[in-house]
Symmetry: D3
Subunit: 230 residues, 6 copies
């Protein structure tokens, strides 16, 4: 039995954790255990790099605790992948970024993908992240839904998703759509039906990538993400 720990940003909205756990547990199947926690302090949502800075220490605590409690892999449940290299330096178990897992799958399903970002403030950050990952060759566009992260499950947000996704395909040359957020997962099956191209949910790819790494006994390269020496 593999144990995966999912770290959510936001410490006040604890009530939705049970539902999130159920969603992710269903994806990985019965042989893998999904645990969910929320950071204990810092911002409620990551809306731009400034929030990433503020949330960093609290995410780090959770990552270290997950390793200490014997988890096989840990997921940072935010598509901006806050502080990923730093977190990987801190532990030996795999630390999976939701965004990175989604982008890595996207480039295998088509040649060009677009990211639908909930907020305008995330747009330059996604461009920068994609450039850091070296994947700008495959980025058709980053488009903005202009919805707060806590409003992403409204019907209006789904309408914006369809509108911007179709524009990404028609005007920007997108062949694959990636959600730029993990908070829209429950709406994905219905949204997928509206598109002739794959729609990728980072929440789903993150949990499956973590499962893959745990299954194969793989973890991040310690040459790339060196441990802290004493």
């Amino acid at each position: 039995m593999k144990r995966l720990r999912v770290i959510f940003i936001g410490h006040e909205h604890m009530d939705f954790l049970a539902e999130q756990k159920k969603y992710r547990q269903a994806i990985v199947g019965a042989d893998t255990s999904v645990e969910v926690v929320s950071i204990k302090r810092g911002p409620e949502t990551i809306e731009q790099p400034l929030d990433e800075l503020l949330a960093g220490p609290a995410i780090l605590e959770e990552v270290i605790q997950a390793e200490g409690e014997g988890c096989d892999a840990v997921i940072v449940d935010c598509a901006l992948d806050p502080a990923l290299p730093a977190l990987r330096e801190a532990v030996a178990i795999p630390v999976v970024g939701a965004g990175q897992s989604a982008f890595a799958l996207a480039i295998t399903l088509g040649d060009r993908f677009s990211i639908l970002s909930p907020l305008k403030s995330l747009v330059p950050a996604y461009h920068r992240r994609i450039r850091e990952y070296g994947l700008n060759f495959a980025l058709a566009s980053v488009r903005c839904l202009d919805f707060g992260i806590l409003d992403l499950l409204s019907p209006a947000a789904s309408d914006a998703f369809v509108r911007e996704g179709e524009a990404a395909i028609r005007e920007d040359g997108a062949e694959v759509i990636v959600l730029g957020c993990t908070g829209m997962s429950p709406a994905i099956p219905r949204l997928q039906e509206r598109f002739e191209v794959p729609v990728i949910d980072p929440a789903a790819t993150a949990i499956l990538t973590a499962q893959t790494l745990a299954t194969l006994g793989l973890t991040h390269s310690k040459i790339c993400y060196p441990s802290k020496e004493n």
Copy 2:
């Protein structure tokens, strides 16, 4: 129960199929069924693009048959990903290339990877494939073991693997090692122990990527890989 179909190159070495099926079945777990077939004609191994051309029609037949028989996804079990775009145009189910699945995971575990190719004749082909995939920014090197594909399980091949892998890390800046072949899988656990960096087996990543796609109901973009019109 999801059904995954693995297509092997080589129609004469049928005896090893049962073992291959067992290895892959163990990776995906009991909820997913793994089926293995071999192409019915064409070359025994893919040693360079000329073999890819010769094997193409036979692989295509197997891919179409897999879809016709209700498989949820199909894997081309060769790290060069022979004829991948063409195969994806022919069917609606996901067609997973072993190489592509391995490269896409490699870029999430470190910033630079090296491919260890069994044969010298595959070296330029791997360079070309990586460029076609847009991943040359992350390629540290392609190094050659200089072993025939059918000799990869010999101890001498493992020695060559360790020697070239260490050279890739030390001289080329590799942070992750990717096997350039699916025929070395049984040796991977022992080889992984010799390295401080992740060693990625395309056979394993291919079957897990296929499982991921089947689980999420995702398939390749039909804008990128258009169906044949009549």
Copy 3:
């Protein structure tokens, strides 16, 4: 006297071969002999990578036969350059791809070029090929005429060519236009008059590149395209 062999796709439309030979012979002049053949089986036209896979073995036969019969160079008369690396591995004489010869000239006549593709199904394939060739830095766009390959000589196809070519210049920044097909050659002189930028015909550049290679005694690098060992 140099002998160039042109391989056409499509085995049923043999009647137009004589005209094609005449057109190409006029380009290379009297000191070079042009021979034309058609593949003996496989698809009539290359409309997407799936056709490339199906035509591959038949093209290979012709390439090998051309070498056996003493030709100095062989041209694959299709702008998608089907199976080019594989064909080059099979013989020692130069194998010229019509598309590659056109793209290589295009980047010397201006900084950015657009490809006018006859069919929508070829658009992602041209993008992929250009990326494989490393020339995406110079690609302004791939635009689609939406005409079947056998209808390219109609006046309506010429109108579409002018319309899309002008749009490529005005909207995409194209400075050079490349036909994404070899079947439109007879219309080129008239089309060139309509444009202030060079219009490149892959059929013409292919035959002249083959002549250049034959004149200089050059052939493809055997390190890049290794011969099949026995």
Copy 4:
């Protein structure tokens, strides 16, 4: 009179601040005032991204305080540019990264530069930063001195600098050398004499870039680094 605020990492080694202020004041001249502060908590040095995460909130406090106290520009005195985008989102005055200012000058003095990193743990981080900045086309190499940041002023560190710098020129094709640290400034004039190529000190370029921005009334793009709304 322009006011520039320099933020040092490390809150215990306060005694060297006066000397650092004097060095930087001499560079900018009498018309500009240089103020120096140290972060109040967090790590003593930035040796890898994990330290960047831990130091982030404390640097942010200093940046906000500098703006509140009327400074015209603020310098993060670390060549890894910790948390730069986040800091720029937090204030309206320019936030200058020492590394970025050095790299931007380096590409105007030669076509390829090498970074001499004090520690091995910073090597992948510099590669990642350069890729994020889009400057990998100009990076010849990142070489390691293997000296702790607090030992960089020893004669042995200077010897290592000369040895690795010469190797960067001879073996890696470097045409410009950039220090990967701001703690080696006093040794630069003597080191510059040993090289036939420019040796760039991020501490010096940072203070002059800040002065340039203050003089011209320029600050970072708020489209690229959006302010936090609310």
Copy 5:
């Protein structure tokens, strides 16, 4: 006291030199002396590479004379950076290109910049220069004001600047605006007010970069720009 020499193109419009000197002197402050000269022959303005060729020998004379007269750095006051590598080979003092100094600052203030070129004939030349500098990753667009260089201070030119600059931001994704000319400097303060993003004047960045190099005793790499041997 550092001495900076500014070389203007155009030998007939000598009357405006006094004003230009005053503008630049004000930027660098009292500790640095600014001298201005005009080339003695050749074209009045650089409107395309053909002018660059014609002006080259005359600029070279001025650069050599500046070094001979003891200047600490010399500025080629044209945003196209005519003949920069050649000029740098001819002397040991720094030769600053106005365009290069502006582009190097632009990439530190935002992720994507647009150049506003006065003339259409300069548009391909700017694209080529940016590619030569390796900065195409950051170029959002080159837009054209369509004003002769001697008309750039008219109100209509300012209106065109605002219009094209806003279009660059809205349609091309520009986060920073760079003037593609040094002849519009007096209008910059008023234009900056109209934009929410930085507007960079190459005349200003050139003089400050020259001052920076003179202050730090840095000059161009002689490996990259080798002296002429005898």
Copy 6:
């Protein structure tokens, strides 16, 4: 009968022009006329960009004269392609750069090429040119023979060529060799025999590219290389 005009650099070594004409005439065949001229002033050889600047106006005169005298195309017989964009702006007939013609053929014969430069001072200039052309993705290396251009036909120069060419293949991954000079042509056939990869002579590719353009009635894009307006 097409007329091609070849412009040599160097006005004193007129005696070798007859031989050069004969060599090039033999390549293009009897249907095309080759004329050779030398620039009337300026440097004897192009050994670095400073010579390019000095030779520019004299080359321009010859290009304009060639057009005035009815030539169909003109070749700048120097592999550094001095002032190519400017020359193309000045006339309507094709202006072929020897280097560019060789590089464009090289990328069709293998995936990576090396340039063998006669002089060390040309090495950074070739790197810059290749980057300007966008072909750095295919450049394995620029290696130096360390022979003056007028000594390239000595046996020692041929020995250096073989030594550096073999090192380029073995150490740098070159699959094609390009001479970085047009003055070594007579030695090429003998040198080609020593290599298993293509050896490309810019003098030969230039004359054949000019013939190709004249045959097809193609010239450079006037959008890319705009004519001088009056």
